[in-house]
Subunit: 608 residues, 2 copies
C-alpha cells in the first residue's frame, strides 16, 4: 500500500525521486524517505508525515547522486515515525532497501539476526531484509537478493541498492506491484505508473516471482528459476493531466462530478442499437451459464458494497443463488467452490491483496472467474479468466465514488448479459433496463445540480460524532456504502443498519437530534420503512430522507428530503448513493478533514 | 412488544393489573396506563415513564372496579408521552382499547374517521381502534370488535372494554401473542404468562385470527369464521421464582452466571452414552438429509449472530452451503426456497414478528423448517415443522446472554446430528466434539471465576463513546455479538469488523487509546490477526485481546489479555462471548445505565 520509486541514470536522482513520490503519495503518506548513492557512499534522509516534511528537512542541502530509491509509507509493522520510515539499511549502512508488503516470518528472522550480532533500529518487518542482504553479501548484489528472498515468506515489492556493488538497482516482486520504466541512458522503478509518466511511457511490468537488475543502460529480468526472461514492453496510454483536480477543491469532488461521464464510458459499446446487451469480452456460452448453480462475489470495502447490490440484482433477474463475501473472510473459510460456481471479483485497483488471493483460490478450485476492475494491466486483470473493466479513469481520492457507481453499471450489464444469453430474462425486460440505464448519466447530472441542498444537512451532521444509515433491501446495501463514505473521510462514527434490525439493539443509541439518513427508494418497502422512520422519530432523531421523485408520503415522515429522479427501482442504487457521497464530502470539508487523504487509510490495499 | 393485562372477576381490579404489568414491564416501559370500569363508567389513568410513575400518580386514590385493562408501552407510532400511552378511548370515552402490534392502514382510517367527525387525542395507530368501535357499535361489543378487525390490516393483540356493553372483555390476536388465564369466578388476559402466574396456571393460548369473549364465569373463543372453538387448557409449569434475580444486582448478571446450568440443561438427554448425538425431536431421515442442497438460517439481533456462527459450523462439518439472513431482509427479497432447502429459524421468545413471518414464508414455499426457541408454546414453536428448544429458562434481561450460548449449543447439536445421520461426519470426530461440548459448562465456570479481571478494561471503556471489535472467521461472528451487547446496554457506539476489512475505511476512526476488543482464538488465523492488531496498535489504540490459554504470542501484541480455556477451535464462540458479556455488563453498570431495561429497547420484538 506504500509507494516505491527508483532511479538510475545520468541526472541528479533526488528531484526525480521526489517528483515520483509526489504522484504516489495517495498510496501512503505517514512518512517518506530517500536514499542516494554517489562516490562518497549511501546517504539516507527520512521524515515522518507527508512528503513535504521530507522536503523541508532536506531544504537546500539536496543529497547528490545519480541513482537512488524513495518511498512513501503506510504503516503496518511499527507506527509512523522517522525510524520506521523507509529506506532501511543494515548495521553498516552500506545496503539499503525499500519495500511494500509484509514479511510474515520477520519475527523469527529478527531474533536470529539479533543472535548473530545484528542491531535493529526500527520496529519494521522491512529492516530484516537489509540485514539479511548484509549477512549474505559476497560481492554480487543480485545473487544476494535472490538468496535473501528464499528465506522470507510474505509479500513484497522491493528495491535494493548497495555501495558494495554500485551502478545497479535490484528489484523483485511477490504479491505487490512493481514496474520498470525505460529511458535513454536511464531507467526507473515504481510501484505505480503515475510516478513514471513525466519521464517515460515505456514500461516492463514485473510478475510474481520475477527479479530484475536495472542499470543505466540495461534491464535484465529473471524468473524465479533464475533464467533470463524476454519481457514485453507495455506502452502506457494514460494522460497525466487526467489525474489532476481540474479546478475542483478535491479529487473526491472532481470524481463525484465525473460520474455521468464515467457511467457513459462504461456503457459505451456494450449495448446494441436494439437495446440488448453486448458484453463481448464476457464470452460465456448458453450451456456454460446453465451449468452454473451459484454465483459468489468477493471484494473488499466499497467494492464489497457493490457486490451486495449485485446479489439483489442477480438473484432477482436470474433466480440463481448469490453469496457475497469479504475477501479477507472468504479466503479462510474453506469456501465451497467448483466448476458450477461463477466467482465475480471486484477491485478498483486490481491490486487488492485479499481479493487477488481469493481470485487465485477460486481459479485453483476450478471456478470460472470474472474480474471487475478499473485498472488495465493490474494483477487482477492479468490473472482473471475474464475481465470486465469499469471505464472510470484514474481514481485518486482514497474514498471511492466513481469506481463504485461504474462497478454497479458493470454488475447490471453482467446480470443482463447472463440472462439474455441463457434466455432467462425476457427481451422486453432487458430493453426496459437498458433504456433506463442509458438515462442514468442524465439522472446523475440532475442529482449533482441539487448539490447545494445537501449542505444544510452536512452542516447538522458535522457537529456529531455518530450517525446512522437505515434502509431495507437494495437501500440497505447503499446505506452500508454511505456510512463507509462518511466514516472514512469525516471520521464521524457512522453505521448502517437494515432498518428492521434497529429494534434489536441499536435503537438504544438513538438520542435527540442524532442524524439518521433513511433511504426509501423501493416502493414495495415504503410502508415498512415508514414504521422504521417513525421508530427513530419517536426518539427525536433528525432524519434525512432519500426518496424517489413523486413520493409525497415519505416526505411527511422526515425532517429533510432529497428526491432522486424516478427510475426502475432495481437501478436506484446508482442514483441514491450520489447524495450520500455529497453529504460525506461536505461534512468532511466542514470538519476540516483532509478529504482526499484521510488519516490511516491508503487508496489500494495491497497487504492483507 | 408492549405488555397487556386484563381482569374481570370479583376482586378490585387495580392491584391485579398493576401486579401483572410489573411482571411484563421488561416487554416495554416507556409509558403505562390502566382503565377500570364500574357502575359510574370508565376511568382511565396513564403516565409516561416506568410503571412506578403511574402508581405515584394514582397515589391513594385507587380507581374502583372489578374489571379493567392495563398496558405497558414501547413506542412505535408516536413518541412516549401521557397522550400516547394506552388505554385509548373514543370521543365519548365509553370504549377503551389496549393494543400490541401495528395497524398498518391507520393513516387512511384516521383520515376517514376525522372526516366523519371523530377527534383524535394521540399520535398512535391504536386510537383508530377505539373510534372504530364507537363508529360501529350497535349494542353488542363482540360483534363490533369483529367488524372493526375486518377493517384493519397489520398485527394486533387487543383487549376492548366498554360501559355500553359491560361485564365482558373482548380480546383478539393476529401476529401478537395473547393468553387467557382461567380463575374461579374471575378470568385474566395477558400478553405473556408471567403476568398471570400469581393468580392461575390454567391458560388458553389464542391463535391468529381468534377472538374471545371473557366474562367473570366464562371464556368463549371463536375462530375467524365466527364459529365457537373448543380450546385446550394449557397448564403452565414454570416456577415464578425462577424469574427473580436471586441475589444478583441485575437479571443480566444472573443470566450470565446461569450459563453453565443452561448449557448443561440444553445438552441433557441429547447425547448417547457412546458420545453420539441423539436429537430425537429432529426426526429427519438419512435420505431427507441427502436431498438438501442448501441451509438457510433466519433470525434477528443476537439470534442472527448465533446463525452466523452456525454458518461456519455447518459449512465446515457438512460441506453444504449455508446462507444466514436477517429476518426483516429475508422476507422482502423473494428468497430462493423449496424442498431442497432446510430453513433454520432462531428466536429466543418464539414471538419475533419478522422471524415468524419468515418461517411462514418458508413453509409456504415447501421448505422444511427447524425452529430453535426458548419458549414452549410460543407461536414459532407451535407453527414450525420441528422444534429444538434451548433449555435456558426465562430470560428477563433485554440483552440476551444465556439464550445466545444455548442457541449455539443447539446449532452444534443440529449440525452433528445431520452429519451423523447422513454419515457425512466421522464418528470419531463426533465423539471428539461431544466430549468437548460436555466440558463446555465447566469451561464457562472457569471463565466466570475470572470476572474480576475484566473490570479494569470496563473501566477504561466506560469513558469512551466508541469501541471496535475485530476478529476473523468465527471470531468475527462473536465480535458482532459482543459489539451488539456493549451497544445496547452501555450506549457506547460499538461496531464489529472483520479484521481484514478495517483497512478499507474504518481504520480512519482509530485514535489514541480508543478501545479495541480483538478476538484471536483460531490458531489458523493467528498470524493474520497479529497483523491486524499491529495496524491498530500502530495508531495507539488500547487493545483487549481474547485468546486461548497457552497462546503466549498474541499476548505480546495486546495491552490486556483474557484467556479462555482451550477447546476445539470450532467450539470457541460459546466461551469467547462470555468475557464480552461481562465487559458489557460492567461498562453498563459503571456508566450508570439501566442494565436490564436499556432505553428504547424491549425484550422480544413482536412488531416488524
Amino acid at each position: 500500500m506504500c509507494g516505491i520509486v527508483g532511479y538510475i541514470g545520468g541526472q541528479q536522482a533526488y528531484p526525480i525521486l521526489i517528483e515520483g513520490l509526489s504522484k504516489l503519495e495517495y498510496r501512503g503518506y505517514d512518512s517518506a524517505g530517500v536514499a542516494l548513492l554517489d562516490d562518497s557512499g549511501v546517504e539516507i534522509i527520512k521524515s515522518v508525515g507527508r512528503l513535504q516534511n521530507l522536503e523541508e528537512k532536506v531544504g537546500n542541502e539536496v543529497p547528490a547522486g545519480t541513482m537512488g530509491i524513495g518511498h512513501t509509507r503506510w504503516a503496518t509493522h511499527g507506527r509512523p515515525c522517522d525510524e520506521n520510515a523507509h529506506p532501511h539499511s543494515d548495521c553498516s549502512g552500506q545496503y539499503v532497501v525499500i519495500h511494500n508488503g509484509i514479511i510474515e516470518n520477520y519475527h523469527a528472522l529478527r531474533e536470529w539476526l539479533t543472535s548473530v550480532g545484528h542491531t535493529f533500529r526500527s520496529e519494521t518487518d522491512t529492516e530484516v531484509l537489509a540485514h539479511l542482504v548484509e549477512h549474505y553479501f559476497q560481492g554480487d548484489l543480485k545473487q544476494t537478493v535472490r538468496q535473501v528472498l528464499e528465506k522470507v515468506t510474505g509479500s513484497y515489492g522491493i528495491v535494493v541498492m548497495s555501495e558494495r556493488d554500485p551502478d545497479r538497482l535490484i528489484c523483485a516482486r511477490k504479491d505487490s506491484p512493481l514496474i520498470i520504466g525505460l529511458g535513454d541512458g536511464e531507467n526507473f522503478i515504481a510501484s505505480d505508473i503515475p510516478a513514471l509518466l513525466k519521464y517515460t511511457r515505456d514500461t516492463i511490468i514485473l510478475e510474481d516471482g520475477e527479479l530484475a537488475e536495472v542499470t543505466r543502460d540495461s534491464v535484465v529480468v529473471e524468473g524465479s528459476d533464475g533464467k533470463q526472461l524476454q519481457k514485453e514492453i507495455y506502452h502506457v496510454k494514460w494522460d497525466a493531466v487526467a489525474a489532476e483536480k481540474e479546478g475542483y477543491d478535491h479529487f473526491m469532488l472532481k470524481e463525484i462530478h465525473e460520474q455521468p461521464k464515467a457511467i457513459r464510458d462504461t456503457l459505451r459499446g456494450r449495448l446494441t442499437e436494439g437495446g440488448l446487451v453486448n458484453l463481448a469480452e464476457l464470452n460465456l456460452a448458453e450451456d456454460q451459464i446453465w451449468q452454473l448453480r451459484k454465483i459468489v462475489m468477493v471484494a473488499c470495502g466499497t467494492a464489497y458494497h457493490a457486490g451486495l447490490v449485485g446479489k439483489y440484482v442477480f438473484e432477482n433477474l436470474l433466480r440463481l443463488p448469490v453469496e457475497v463475501d469479504v475477501a479477507s473472510e472468504f479466503r479462510y473459510r474453506d469456501p465451497l467452490l467448483g466448476e458450477d460456481t461463477l466467482v465475480v471479483v471486484i477491485s478498483q485497483s486490481g491490486e487488492t491483496a485479499d481479493t487477488l488471493a481469493a481470485m487465485r483460490l477460486a481459479r485453483q478450485k476450478g471456478s470460472p472467474v470474472v474480474a471487475i476492475t478499473n485498472v488495465v494491466g493490474s494483477t487482477v486483470s492479468r490473472e482473471a479468466d475474464r475481465v470486465l473493466y469499469t471505464w472510470a479513469g484514474p481514481e485518486i481520492a482514497v474514498a471511492s465514488t466513481k469506481a463504485y457507481t461504474t462497478q454497479l453499471v458493470v454488475l447490471y450489464l453482467l446480470a443482463l448479459q447472463l440472462g439474455q444469453t441463457a434466455g432467462i430474462v425476457a427481451e422486453e425486460e432487458i430493453k426496459n433496463m437498458t433504456e433506463a440505464l442509458q438515462n442514468i448519466p442524465a439522472d446523475v447530472e440532475r442529482i449533482l445540480e441539487q448539490e447545494e441542498s445537501v449542505k444544510d444537512f452536512a452542516n447538522h451532521i458535522k457537529d456529531w460524532e455518530h450517525a446512522f444509515f437505515i434502509g431495507r433491501g437494495l437501500d440497505y446495501a447503499v446505506a452500508l456504502e454511505g456510512s463507509l463514505k462518511l466514516k472514512e473521510i469525516s471520521y464521524i462514527h457512522a453505521e448502517a443498519y437494515a432498518a428492521g434490525e434497529l429494534k434489536h439493539g441499536t435503537l438504544a443509541l438513538i438520542t435527540e437530534n442524532i442524524p439518521i439518513i433513511a433511504l426509501a427508494t423501493q416502493p414495495a418497502l415504503y410502508e415498512k420503512m415508514w414504521s422504521n422512520i417513525k421508530e427513530v422519530k419517536a426518539r427525536d432523531a433528525y432524519v434525512f430522507g432519500i426518496v424517489t421523485a413523486g413520493d409525497d408520503e415519505t416526505e411527511k415522515e422526515v425532517d429533510v428530503i432529497f428526491a432522486i429522479p424516478k427510475t426502475i427501482p432495481i437501478l436506484s442504487p446508482i442514483l441514491s448513493v450520489i447524495p450520500l457521497q455529497l453529504i460525506s464530502y461536505h461534512a468532511s470539508v466542514l470538519r476540516g478533514c483532509d478529504v482526499d487523504k484521510p488519516r490511516n487509510l491508503a487508496k489500494s490495499v495491497t497487504v492483507e
